[in-house]
């Protein structure tokens, strides 16, 4: 894989939550990088650790019960995981923006849009009220909200879900971040609005040349959006590949099953969608072998004992599996 200068380089990140029911092993040793201007999609089902992983980079998980056990996350030559809270505050919103899943609850219901849009600007760039207001109008126009100036005094409940997500995006773009993390930003929206938001983010990314991490559980959304895909399962990355390779020749049984589960337009009406048997792992047990082993059709004895590491299988693709799912043979 070609080595661009990495904007963010995460190595061996492990996150746990200590709950009364026991320790949850949410993220189990994740390493990835993202280059400047690159768009990476993180795919996986609920509970695979996608959100926790990204939120822990920004110090957004509650500690306790959360605990970052190990790892480094070097962003612009500084390790985010070791930054004191005060300095991390200055990274959040200014260098790294994050958009969340549910636009209905992610905006403060009792503050005006203007206030919520401008406060990051005032905080990070010391803009005057007037400058911040002008920038806020500019941002709302950028995300396609008509009549922006007159809407600054409005409250979130006066906007629809799609509009709120646009506002959320505008808020996180306010300071021109180098990296935007979008945590399932379209999941709570209906399909037409989803497409609009995806398009909007693409457009803005091209305009502002920022890097993007797009967290989703929807492989369908990924294709038009990302350069590279990370597939997560059970708090680990099981496959990493550029988009074409992933769709053409997935190398991990889980990815294979995921792609098989996608509905096809030309499929016969009556045929059932293909589901992956079993349920995602309870992360309450520490992983000993491959997290996907219980549901894998290619499972071998060693899969239960040994955890496969992410290994390159081609210049554009890495997988964490002992078996080549296309041949059924064990990899060398």
């Amino acid at each position: 894989m070609k080595q661009d200068p990495a904007l963010l380089n995460v190595h061996d990140l492990q996150v746990r939550f200590h709950t009364p029911e026991g320790t949850i092993y949410a993220v189990n040793g994740i390493s990835f990088h993202i280059a400047e201007g690159e768009a990476v999609a993180v795919v996986g089902e609920s509970g695979s650790g996608k959100s926790v992983c990204m939120m822990s980079l920004l110090g957004l998980i509650p500690i306790p019960p959360g605990e970052i056990v190990s790892g480094t996350a070097v962003f612009l030559e500084r390790d985010l995981l070791k930054l004191p809270e005060k300095e991390l505050e200055l990274v959040r919103g200014r260098d790294i923006g994050m958009i969340f899943q549910d636009p209905m609850t992610s905006l403060n219901p009792v503050l005006t849009l203007g206030r919520q849009l401008t406060e990051a600007l005032v905080r990070h760039f010391n803009l005057t009220a007037e400058e911040a207001r002008n920038r806020a109008i500019e941002l709302l126009q950028l995300v396609g909200i008509p009549d922006a100036a007159s809407r600054l005094g409005n409250y979130p409940h006066q906007f629809s879900g799609g509009m709120r997500q646009r506002v959320m995006i505008a808020m996180m773009l306010a300071c021109n971040p180098k990296l935007l993390i979008a945590d399932e930003p379209t999941t709570a929206l209906d399909v037409t609005i989803q497409a609009q938001i995806v398009e909007l983010v693409q457009e803005i990314r091209a305009k502002l040349r920022m890097s993007l991490i797009w967290i989703t559980h929807d492989l369908g959304v990924v294709a038009g959006l990302a350069d590279r895909v990370l597939v997560m399962y059970g708090g680990t990355i099981v496959e990493e590949a550029d988009v074409e390779s992933l769709y053409e020749r997935p190398q991990h049984p889980y990815t294979l099953a995921l792609l098989a589960a996608l509905p096809r337009v030309h499929q016969r009406r009556q045929s059932r969608l293909k589901a992956i048997p079993g349920a995602p792992p309870h992360l309450i047990l520490e992983l000993t072998g491959c997290p996907f082993a219980p549901r894998c059709e290619f499972v071998r004895d060693r899969c239960w004992r040994e955890r496969p590491l992410l290994q390159p299988v081609s210049p554009t693709q890495k997988t964490a599996c002992f078996v080549n799912p296309h041949t059924g043979e064990e990899r060398a």
Binding site: L60, E89, S106, L107, L111, H157
Partner: protein, 344 residues
């Protein structure tokens, strides 16, 4: 909004009628004011009869209510008991601002008596409410942000103690400690009754000194109550998605707490304050009694004991109005704080 307020005010008029009628009937049955009028000796039967006629107490209860409400200057009353109404009535009725005369003070208008007590009551209750709000918010926010820390646990324990203690116990204990024992130990001690020391006179410093213990007793329980509400409201708000958003914007922690969280957490608190507002006027019955503070609560008790109907009715009507007005005020403030609420 204006229309809403006007509608609420109009709706409260029939409500006040019903409330006043019920209270009037109830208070008519609490005791016999005439028994007390003979001074040391029991009132003589012939005096009773005459007094009852003069005060209109011989009339049927509904008639008495009508006189109380609209007065009796439009009709004649029978004062000498010959069955012939010949003397014109002089009462103007509540609707024209005449709450009747106080029997206990022999002829002073009830409204004047009540009016005199209002400054004293507010002087005690407003500072107490401010103390309650400031400490309740401070303690509640602090223990929410440090949930399950030793401070939070200590505050929780203390507020359950405060919550379950009757106010007279707190009042008496505080007198025992800060007045009696402190004096015995030779420490500077606090005065335990009245508004000022008659030998020093009614100075601001004296009044302030005399306010400390009553305010402490009033505030103790309510700080416990408020801090529990504030704590749970803050805990709920701090786990909301928009707090995470505010954090992700890199805002300072203090901004997140004081602006993003508190604006939302204050909504349930507004309701609580709204319910307590009428007590600013009502005073604290038990506390005022124990500390001999000449406020509305003590006035109410003193006049209730001697069945002084005019004053007691005056106070309860005043409070009924206060309750209604503070409910309307609460609704208005609520709408200001929560833009999602619209009244139209």
């Amino acid at each position: 909004m204006t229309r809403y307020v006007i509608r609420r005010l109009l709706q409260s008029i029939p409500l006040l009628f019903v409330v006043s009628l019920i209270l009037f009937v109830l208070l008519n049955n609490i005791g016999d004011p005439l028994t007390m009028m003979g001074g040391r000796n029991p009132t003589r039967p012939e005096d009773r009869e005459r007094l009852a006629r003069q005060l209109g107490l011989d009339q049927p209860i509904l008639m008495q209510y009508v006189y109380w409400l609209v007065g009796n200057d439009w009709t004649m009353i029978d004062v000498d008991g010959d069955g012939e109404p010949e003397t014109p009535g002089r009462r103007k009725g509540v609707l024209r601002g005449d709450f009747g005369i106080s029997i206990l003070t022999r002829g002073k208008p009830a409204l004047d008596i009540i009016w005199e007590r209002i400054p004293n009551t507010l002087l005690l209750m407003i500072p107490a409410q401010i103390v309650i709000l400031v400490l309740g918010l401070g303690v509640g926010i602090y223990s929410a942000l440090r949930q399950y820390s030793w401070v939070d646990n200590a505050v929780t324990t203390l507020s359950f103690v405060g919550f379950s203690m009757p106010i007279f116990l707190i009042a008496l204990l505080s007198i025992y400690l800060f007045s009696v024992l402190f004096q015995r130990w030779g420490l500077p001690y606090l005065p335990a009754n009245g508004m000022f020391d008659p030998q020093v006179g009614k100075t601001a410093a004296q009044i302030a000194k005399h306010m400390i213990l009553p305010i402490f007793a009033i505030a103790f329980i309510d700080v416990a109550r408020y801090s529990r509400y504030v704590r749970s409201a803050m805990l709920e708000v701090m786990s909301q998605d928009y707090i995470r958003t505010a954090k992700a914007k890199g805002l300072r922690r203090v901004t997140i707490i004081m602006v993003h969280a508190l604006r939302n957490a204050s909504l349930p608190i507004i309701t609580l304050v709204g319910l307590d507002l009428p007590f600013l006027l009502a005073g604290a019955v038990v506390t005022e009694r124990i500390f001999a503070w000449p406020g509305m609560g003590r006035l109410f008790l003193d006049h209730l004991e001697r069945s002084d109907g005019a004053v007691v009715m005056g106070i309860v009507i005043l409070l009924a109005v206060a309750v209604i007005l503070s409910q309307i005020l609460t609704d208005i403030v609520y709408a200001v704080f929560d833009p999602r609420i619209r009244y139209d």
